[in-house]
Amino acid sequence: MIEAKYPVREKKNYLNAEHGLMSWLLTKDHKRIAILYLYAVTFFFVIGGLFAALIRLELATPAGDLLDSNTYNKVFTMHGVIMIFFFLIPSIPAILGNFLIPLMIGAKDLAFPRINLISWYIYMVGGLIGTFVVCTGGVDTGWTFYTPFSSSYSNGYVVLTALAAFINGFSSILTGLNFIVTVHRMRAPGLTWFRLPLFVWAHYATSAVMILGTPVIAVTLFLLMLERGLHIGFFDPAYGGDPVLFQHLFWFYSHPAVYIMILPSMGVISEVISTFSSKKPFGYTFIAFSSVAIAVFGFLVWGHHLFVSSQSAYAGMVFSVLSYIVAIPSAVKIFNWLATMYKGNIRLETPMLYAIGFMGLFTIGGLTGLFLAAMGMDVHLTDTYFVVAHFHYVMVGGAVTGYLAGLHFWWPKMTGRMYPQGWSKVSAIMVFTGFNLTFFPQFLLGYMGMPRRYHVYPPEFAVLNVLSSAGASLLGIGFLIPGIYFIWSLKYGKLAGANPWGATGLEWQTASPPPTENFAITPVVTHEAYDYSTVVHEEEVVHVG
C-alpha cells in the first residue's frame, strides 16, 4: 500500500482517455460502463418519480378527480415496475459496484469486461421495451403481476412488460456472475478475504442472490407470457391452473430481490460510517457474515407474503419463524455500526448524514417488518398502506438513502470534482424530513385499514393522505437538488484530491478520477482493512502532473 503519498493527478484519466460517443458505447472499461448505467438508471428514477408524484397528487383528495381509475392503476403499476426492476435492482450494484469493485480489490477491470458491456445493453433493451409500454398505453397489473388478473383479465401490455422484466433479469445474472468471478480471481496480492472492504462482501452476497434467484422470476414470467399469449394453463383456474402457484413462484424471487436492493446499500453504509468515524468497523466479521446470512435465509421466507392466500397454517408458521430469523442479521449490523461510531472521530459530512438517515429509516423499516411477520397481525395489515409504508422505509429509506450516501461518498472519485457541501447537507436533511412526512402517516392509514392500490378512498383517511402528499413534495425537491448540484459540480466543482475523506480503501490510493488502468502499479496489500493509521487525507489536489 502506498503510504502518505498520493499519485500525481494525471491529465489522462478514464474520462478523457478517449473521446466520442462510440468510445463510450463500445467501452470495456468498468468505470465507463458504470457511468453508462448511471445515466440510464437516473433516467428511470426520474420517470418512476414522476409516476410517484402523480400518485400523491391523485391521493391528495379522497375522490378520483385527477386521473380515471384505469390511468391511476397504470400509474402505480409503472411506478412499481420501473422503480424495482429498472432503478432499485441495478442502482448500487451496476453503478457503484461496477465502478468500485475492481478498484477496491486492486484489479484493472472486472473478470469479463465484454460481458459487463453486454449486460448494460441487455438492461437497455429491457428498459426500452419498458419505455415503449409506458409511452403506448401502459399496464395495470401492479408490479406483482398476480394471476389470473394479469394472465386473463388485464387489458394492458402484460406480455411486453413481463418481457421487459424478463430480459432485464439476464443483465442482473451476468453482473452477479461477473462480480463473483472477479472477487474470487482478481484480488491484489495480500488482499485476503478478511481484508476485503465490507462493500465487497455485501456485493458478493448480493451477486449470489442475483444468480440463484433471477432465473426463477424469468421462468415465472415466461409461464405468465405463455398463459396470456397461448392460453396454456398454469395459473388461471379456467385453464386448470392454480392462481396461488404464481404467488409462490413470484415471491420466491421477489422476496430475495428485496435483499438485492438492500444488501449493497448496507455495504455502502459500512464504508461511510467507518470512514467518517475514522474507525475500523466494529465486528467486521459479524457484518460480513450477516450479509451472507441474509442472502441465505432470504430465500426461505417468501411464504410470509401468502398468510391470507389460503396457504397452510403450518407452512405459514415456518415462514413466519424464518422471517424473524432473517431480521436478526440486520439488527446485528445496526448495532455494529453504532459501536463503530462509539469513540470515533465523527465528521458529519454529507455521506455521513445520509448514513445516519439510513440507520434511522432502515430501523423503522425493519421493525415494522416484525409486525408483518407476525401471522395474526399480518392478516389485518397485509395489502394495506402499512405494507406500503413498510417497504418504502426499507426501499427508499434504506436502499435509496444508501445509494445517495454512496453517490455522495464516491462522487469525487468518479468525477474528480467536489459538490457544494452546504447544498448537499440541506438536501440530505430535506430527504430525511420529507421521507418521514410522506410515509409515516401511511403506517397509521394502514392500521386503520386503508387498502393499497386504492384510487378512491373514504373521507376519514383524507387528513393523513394530505400530510403524505405534502411530505412527498418536500421529498421530491430533496431529490431534485442533488441532480442540479451534481451536474453543476462537473464543471464548477472544486477539484477533488485522491482521498478527500481520509478513507482507507484501495480505491482512494489512486487518482481521482482514476486512470483507465486503475493503478499504475498493482498494489500489494500488507495491512488489515480499515487501518486508519496509514491514511493521509488528500482533500484537494496537491500534485498535478
Partner: protein, 367 residues
C-alpha cells in the same frame, strides 16, 4: 355512523379477534418505539459527543473486536432481538390459529366476489350485494369464492381478511361485538374499479336481524333453491338422495357432507365444500372407490352462486336425529324406503356402498 367520521387515527374495535390483534399491536409498537428511540438517541449522542475536534487524535483508538468484551456485546445484541422476536412469533401464531379456525357451530354465509362487487347469500335465502347484515355476538363463518380474479374480503373493524380465490373456497370468520356499520374493502388488487369494490357490514341486534331476515327474498332457503337446481340439472337421475339407497349409478349424497370418502386410487378425502364443487365441475379428478368415471362435467352450466346453493343443499342432506334437516329429499327413481341411520357410522357408509359391488347389470357411476 360511518358517514359522520371525517378524521380518525385508530380503527373501531368491533369483533372478538380485534381486541387480540390490538393487544399484539400494542406490544409491537412498544418494542419498536423502544428500539427506534434507543438507536436514534445513541446516533445523535455519539455524533455530538465524538464529533471531530481540533484536538482529537488523528486516529481514534478502536476496540479489538476479537476481545471477550466485544464477543459478549455481539452475543447480547443477537440474543435479545432473537428472544423478543420469538415472543412476537408465538403471539402471532396463536392469534392466527384462532383467526383461521371457525368455531364448529358458526352461522354460515356465502360470499361470491366478482369484478367489482360482493354477492352475499344467506342460508335462509336472503341475498344482498355489497352489504352484509349480521347479528351481534354470533360466530359468523363466510365461505367465499370468486367468479373471476383474486379478491380479498377485508373488514378493518374486525381486523380480519382472507383472499377470495377463483376455483376454490376459502373461509373467514368473526364474532361481531358492537352494533354499527363497518367498511368492507376488497384488499387484493382486482382491476379498474378495485377501489369501488367496497361495501358495508351492518352489525344488528338479534331482534333487528330477525326482522331484517323476515323481509327475505321470498325465493326460499338456499338449500331449497339448491334442491330446485339439483332437479333442474337432473342430478337426481343418477345420485340417490334418499337414505340407504345404493342402487344408483352414482354415490348416494345423503349424509355425505363432512365424512371421509374412499377414492378409487386408494386415498381418501374429506367431503367438504371444495370437494363437492370440484366433483361437480371436474368429476374426473376424484373417483369414488367402487364407481366409474361416467359423470359429465357441469362446468359452464352452473354459476358460482348456483354452485354454492347446490353445496348448501347437499350439506342439508345431513341427518340430524334421524330426520332430514332443511330440505326434504326427493323420492328419486327407485322405490327404496328411507331408513333412519342411528349412528354416525351409518352415515359414513352412506358416502359409498359399504363393500357391496353394485349389481353387475347396472351401469356404474362416479361418486
Amino acid at each position: 355512523m360511518m358517514e359522520a367520521k371525517s378524521f380518525q387515527l385508530f380503527p373501531e374495535q368491533a369483533s372478538t379477534i380485534a381486541a387480540h390483534v390490538d393487544g399484539l399491536y400494542a406490544f409491537l409498537v412498544l418494542v419498536s418505539a423502544f428500539f427506534s428511540l434507543l438507536i436514534a438517541f445513541l446516533v445523535v449522542w455519539f455524533a455530538v459527543k465524538y464529533r471531530q475536534r481540533p484536538d482529537s487524535p488523528a486516529v481514534p483508538a478502536h476496540a479489538d473486536d476479537h476481545s471477550a468484551g466485544a464477543m459478549v456485546l455481539e452475543i447480547v445484541w443477537t440474543v435479545i432481538p432473537l428472544g423478543l422476536s420469538m415472543i412476537m412469533f408465538a403471539w402471532g401464531v396463536s392469534i392466527y390459529f384462532t383467526e383461521s379456525r371457525p368455531p364448529a357451530d358458526s352461522m354460515e354465509i356465502y360470499v361470491t366476489g366478482k369484478q367489482w362487487m360482493w354477492k352475499i347469500q344467506h342460508m335462509e335465502g336472503a341475498r344482498e350485494i355489497n352489504e352484509l347484515h349480521i347479528p351481534i355476538d354470533r360466530d359468523i363463518k363466510l365461505t367465499m369464492t370468486s367468479e373471476d380474479v383474486i379478491h380479498d374480503f377485508y373488514v378493518p373493524a374486525f381486523r380480519t381478511k382472507a383472499d377470495v380465490l377463483p376455483g376454490r373456497y376459502t373461509t373467514e370468520w368473526f364474532k361481531p361485538t358492537k352494533v354499527g356499520e363497518y367498511h368492507i374493502f376488497c384488499a387484493e388488487y382486482c382491476g379498474t374499479k378495485h377501489s369501488g369494490m367496497i361495501g358495508t357490514v351492518y352489525v344488528m341486534s338479534q331482534n333487528d336481524y330477525n326482522e331484517w331476515l323476515a323481509h327475505g327474498s321470498g325465493e326460499g332457503s338456499m338449500a331449497e333453491q339448491g334442491q330446485a337446481l339439483f332437479n333442474q340439472l337432473g342430478c337426481g337421475n343418477c345420485h340417490p338422495s334418499v337414505i340407504n339407497n345404493q342402487n344408483g349409478r352414482c354415490p348416494n349424497l345423503v349424509g355425505l357432507f363432512g365424512t371421509r370418502v374412499e377414492l378409487k386410487d386408494g386415498t381418501n378425502v374429506r367431503a367438504d365444500e371444495s370437494y363437492i364443487r370440484e366433483s361437480v365441475l371436474y368429476p374426473e379428478s376424484k373417483i369414488v372407490a367402487g364407481y366409474d368415471n361416467i359423470m359429465p362435467t357441469f362446468k359452464g352450466l352452473i354459476s358460482e352462486e348456483g354452485m354454492l346453493k347446490l353445496v348448501e343443499y347437499i350439506k342439508s342432506l345431513r341427518t340430524k336425529n334421524g330426520t332430514m334437516s332443511t330440505a326434504t329429499p326427493l323420492p328419486v327413481q327407485t322405490g327404496a324406503t328411507p331408513q333412519t341411520p342411528t349412528k354416525a357410522g351409518a352415515m359414513k357408509t352412506a358416502a359409498r356402498p359399504a363393500g357391496a359391488v353394485p349389481a353387475p347389470a347396472a351401469p356404474q357411476g362416479t361418486r
